[in-house]
Symmetry: C2
Subunit: 720 residues, 2 copies
């Protein structure tokens, strides 16, 4: 299935996965180590779109423009010939790159100076506008702006979403619409909502349109401000020959329910399709005319298709996630003899493709690491993916779906190919609760058997995958630099819910505000279960003589910050922690997370039935048990993070709270830091923090001139 | 001591204080009742400054400009002759009106279109600038602004404070200075501070200057952003013949400590005066060359002077507050043979003057109600005050300090003099804890003995004074309209601390983060003590057959909202509550009020040593015990108010949370609502709220079209 590219990778580039398994590899000389700038400039592909001829691809990169100190997007077109990669445009915002059906052209939402509008890019790399809405709306963490999920600087939006009908005759799109500059009197829940985000703008709604050829666009539906499905997913449009389906959100759950509507091209009236709203999920077209889904857990999981007429077809054992958001995609061959689906193997943390034949066969198309961001020509016979791995810089490869043949095309970053890969290893461990989790180990550059190293465990849900410098895992934790500086880096996934009905039920109950799983059990199957996996890998590496178990740190942002905060207040596993832009699980977040907190704690902090659960679990309520210094790097002055910080300080536990600034006083950093100078400073702070607490290396004075003094004062106060 | 004016008041205007005490008064016909607009347009004098000749006064009124829908300030000059009152200027901001020493002219900080600058106003009412700082700083509850305490719309400040040397030769002033537009990385306490106010602007510091004649100004000191004394009180300048003293804040307590500095005109260098910072207090010059103060409590309180050399002189029994912020002022006669001090009698809630002779005599200068906002000519022989009372519209009177003679000058509002006064009464009661508090009762317009009326108790610390429509008590609770609509209105003061060493110690310990007074005792002597006073007056009026004790509501903003929230969660005294822009005592305010919470609760909510105190006292933790519907009207989406609201709703207790908007989406209403349309809407909402829950009158649909539906749905869910 693999060709000369893999052979090349095995011997020329040191594919450490193999070396780590006992295969001897020659280490090329001289060593080219990682630098901070290398980490900052890891290419992050956000979209790919292969032209119908299969020869030319357009793709979008999210890049750090250090000179302008901002995150940008680059639109590239390449035909994979030498020198054939052109940057078509640079923009503050680009997303949703698609091929225009039936044309050798692409469409993309981009800010070319007039706010985000819909553009066409032809084969000659010329851009022209398709739809322009001059009434743009400011989006971002900025005064006067609508909160955005794109994690960039503030951007003005004219068009928020679009989708072509398969025949290219119709265009669905959505516009944001801004309310008045003066607010009215607000009541009750409308007030609470204002506390969720720090910055505040006019109320923003969305409106859906359909446009056919040169005719005037027709309004389909108005979407209220609270509808995330409508706002960010354009109502999940699904095209039929005579109608368009779209969805509107019906509740405020983490995974919300949606109501589906059908708009007939004939009578141009939307009609509700279902009696009851259904839990949001993407529809993956199967070869039998129905939708594919995975049912069951672990070895019992099976791929199935719910076919028209209600019958379900079983394709056999299959434990993978279909069209995972980290590498989405699903295609149907023109004559429906097979479906192709981008998949993620949850227990392995790898990405690939699966071809599902109408006759029932399932074929995996894969590499030892991951195939991501695939795009296929309409025939679905051939396409292009990115081959990447934790120690393999990303490159485009051609994928033939008939025989699974994969062939080299073009590197995405020669800079990163030149870095000498670090040695890595996979460790699958079953924890004390009986659940399996995979860890990926990055060894120090100068690792010698027989010597013990300090270690840093980095975690973010299930993002410790076989990808190259995955931003959603490593955030501003420069794991490659940690290894260069002599740390064993443990990239740790939580035990994946797909292995157990119990875990899946706990997840579902949490989404639905509680249920049969008690708060204690939700806490145990979630955070404590993760911690047991951390204990397993630390114990294993300690037993093997690889790490010094008395000098282990933990780092995680967002979801990862929850577990870091719980870990340091419930165990003595870690001697330092870096917790990024989090604070969930603090009592102060109850008011905006009542559903989840009902499940996790059993009610609000003041409820006698719930208070014991807060006492037992809320990190700030347990700060006096912590003995690990905690750095919190935040993008906004979250009350939750402040509460934890104050509680640690009150207990004399070393704690640093660092708020990174926005572009101006009127805007904030975003959850993913998007200002390159902030990213460099935050990565540096992390290196210094762990160096200080795990290796006793005093920091330089820091940005504000007194970092060393401040940290040394904290150390002097530490209990024990 | 009083003259024909008082006689006039007794018979022509029905001085209800006397009628209520059993003196029969003829009620003039026809009745002219209060309207909502009458309440909105009550004149609020903020400054008065009498010219040296004693014949002409300048004064500032805070007024509601309904046409422009904003709060404005009017600068008037009057010589008290008919038609002699002129409006010199209208401005978004005016304060600190003074006479220029040695000139028939005034100086004032005003925004005349170029931000707040220092202006001179001459006897011909011509304005000219004295100091203009073109680098203005935006202040107010607005994006990009520095938080302001003025409770108006956003204003730009050039000059923030000023003071003349007594000889008029030197001018002290302060400028605000704005930091960069881009913030740096912030750490720890600098992050916490950002949660205190919703809007955010660049860091703002202040700088003090002294200017002498035409010479260039000299910088005295730089004041950090956290220094409230420096920022808002200009460092409390005190002039000597050869030097200027000023103070800088040294801690963040509610009543802070200050360090004093002396800047000699000769060497132009500031020197620290004291070794230890001292608790902030105003210096009131006494006739013996020292400072006056009151020592002791209740009947044991005595007026004293700490004289140069350290000796203390005792002037005798004296229970009053010197130069209270609600009616400040103190003067020294040119030859120092007497001092004159504006005073407040705390147990009576009345204001007057006291003349303290160098030979030891103390003479009270007073009216049956209050003398406020006094200003005196340099001779201190004669001055002008405002005579006002709860049922007496304010008017200027001339005050002769030698014999205490008071004579009529000019009304401040003919509109309000035309309203037929409501019947009022004073009730002093000792509560079950043994502490005295004064209540003022306003009777329903159509009060008939023998019939019981529903009642509304309005409270705000010690603000239930004998003043006309005091904004700091009645906020947006239109007490006059309540009476017109058939409610007995109880204006209730808390038991004043000045009566008891125990109460004063509890207050002091609260300011100093706790001490010998335990949290339980702090709670008892504070909030529960107030509630016992409320219980006393309700019992008394019920025993007298005046009120229906089953239909009593409570209303209070800010400090008053604390007691309203405690009252409804700890007692069954009230059947409805309106709680204005508060939320203090909620666990969520811990992070920004750690000192006070240490005293009140013993620590943070997660501290096992403190948690029982939260369980016992935090209103949201006791919401399930409430049976009174609670309306919260707020100026910003305070997390604390939201928490209480959510907790009430979770217990099915009727609760409405109403956020009133700012001028634009980029600004907020202020703690005192400053947008006239909001004030009218909030007053209307209060009337409807109490009418619904106490008198069963359904509200109209309300601003958002479904008030009635919403309230009826709440009522249907109420427990019991």
């Amino acid at each position: 299935m693999l060709d000369r590219l893999q052979t090349f990778a095995r011997c020329i580039a040191p594919a450490i996965l193999l070396c780590g398994s006992g295969v001897a590899c020659a280490t090329p000389e001289p060593i080219h180590p990682w630098t901070l700038e290398d980490v900052l400039s890891i290419p992050h592909v956000t979209d790919t779109a292969l032209a119908a001829d299969g020869r030319t691809i357009a793709y979008i990169l999210r890049v750090a423009n250090q000179a302008a100190d901002r995150t940008e997007f680059e639109l590239h077109i390449t035909d994979f010939r030498s020198g054939g990669d052109k940057v078509v445009s640079r923009s503050l915002w680009m997303e949703r790159l698609q091929t225009v059906p039936g044309q050798k052209a692409w469409s993309v939402l981009a800010d070319q100076g007039a706010g985000v509008q819909l553009y066409r890019v032809d084969g000659a790399a010329q851009m022209s506008s398709i739809i322009v809405n001059p009434e743009t709306v400011l989006v971002g963490s900025v005064d006067g702006g609508e909160f955005g999920y794109g994690f960039t600087g503030p951007v003005r939006f004219g068009i928020a979403y679009y989708d072509w009908s398969p025949d290219g005759r119709r265009l669905f799109y959505s516009q944001l619409r801004q309310g008045t500059e003066k607010d009215g009197v607000r009541h009750d829940e409308d007030v609470t909502r204002l506390t969720l985000f720090r910055r505040r703008g006019p109320a923003v709604t969305a409106r859906f349109f359909v446009k056919e050829g040169g005719k005037a666009p027709i309004g389909l539906a108005d979407v209220p401000p609270s509808d995330r499905v409508g706002r960010f997913l354009g109502g999940m449009p699904a095209w039929h020959s005579d109608a368009l389906d779209f969805s509107l959100q019906t509740d405020d759950l983490n995974t919300p329910h949606v109501a589906r509507y059908r708009w007939h091209f004939g009578d141009k009236t939307p009609r509700r399709l279902d009696d009851e709203p259904t839990l949001f999920s993407d529809a993956i077209a199967g070869p039998g005319g129905g939708n594919l889904f995975v049912e069951g857990e672990g070895v019992a999981a099976r791929l199935k298709e719910r076919q028209p007429g209600g019958k379900t077809r079983d394709f056999g054992a299959f434990n993978a996630t279909l069209s995972d958001r980290r590498s989405p995609g699903h295609w149907l061959s023109p004559n429906r003899d097979f479906a192709l689906v981008a998949v993620r193997y949850p227990l392995e943390g790898r990405y690939g493709l699966v071809r599902i034949e109408r006759n029932g066969g399932i074929k995996r198309i894969e590499v030892p690491e991951s195939l991501t961001h695939c795009s296929f020509a309409p025939s679905v016979a051939e396409g292009v993916c990115i081959w990447e791995g934790i120690a393999r810089a990303p490159a485009f490869v051609r994928v033939r779906t008939g025989d699974g043949k994969i062939s080299a095309l073009q590197s995405l970053s020669s800079r990163h190919e030149q870095i000498t890969p670090l040695k890595t290893e996979v460790r699958d461990l079953v924890n004390a609760f009986g659940f399996l989790a995979r860890n990926r180990i990055i060894f120090p550059r100068e690792y010698r058997t027989g010597r013990r190293y300090p270690a840093i465990l980095v975690t973010h849900s299930t993002d410790a995958d076989d990808r190259f410098g995955a931003l959603d895992l490593q955030w501003d934790y420069p794991v490659q630099l940690f290894a260069e500086r002599g740390y064993v880096v443990i990239l740790a996934n939580e035990p994946h819910a797909s292995q157990s009905a119990l875990l899946k039920k706990a997840d579902a109950d949490r989404n639905m505000c509680g249920g049969e799983t008690s708060p204690a059990q939700i806490q145990r199957l979630g955070w404590f279960n993760q911690i047991e996996s951390f204990r397993s890998i630390i114990d294993a590496l300690n037993s093997d003589g690889v790490i010094d178990a008395d000098h282990v740190g933990i780092a995680g942002y967002s979801y990862g910050s929850q577990i870091a905060n719980v870990a340091v207040t419930q165990t003595k596993l870690f001697k330092a922690a870096s917790s990024g832009d989090g604070g969930f699980l603090e009592p102060a977040a109850y008011r905006t997370h009542r559903c989840a907190y009902k499940a996790i704690f059993g009610g609000p902090p003041g409820d006698p039935a719930a208070s014991a659960n807060y006492t037992a679990f809320a990190p700030s309520y347990r700060a006096r048990f912590a003995r690990a210094p905690v750095l919190q790097q935040i993008a906004e002055p979250h009350e939750t993070a402040i509460d934890f910080h104050q509680a640690l300080r009150a207990a004399n536990v070393a704690a640093e709270l660092s708020l990174y600034p926005g572009e101006t006083i009127a805007s904030d950093e975003t959850h993913f830091f998007h200002i390159p100078s902030n990213r460099l400073a935050a990565m540096t702070e992390n290196v210094q923090w762990f160096d200080y607490w795990l290796k006793d290396i005093p920091p330089p004075s820091g940005l504000d001139g007194n970092r060393r003094e401040r940290w040394e004062a904290m150390r002097a106060l530490m209990p024990d």
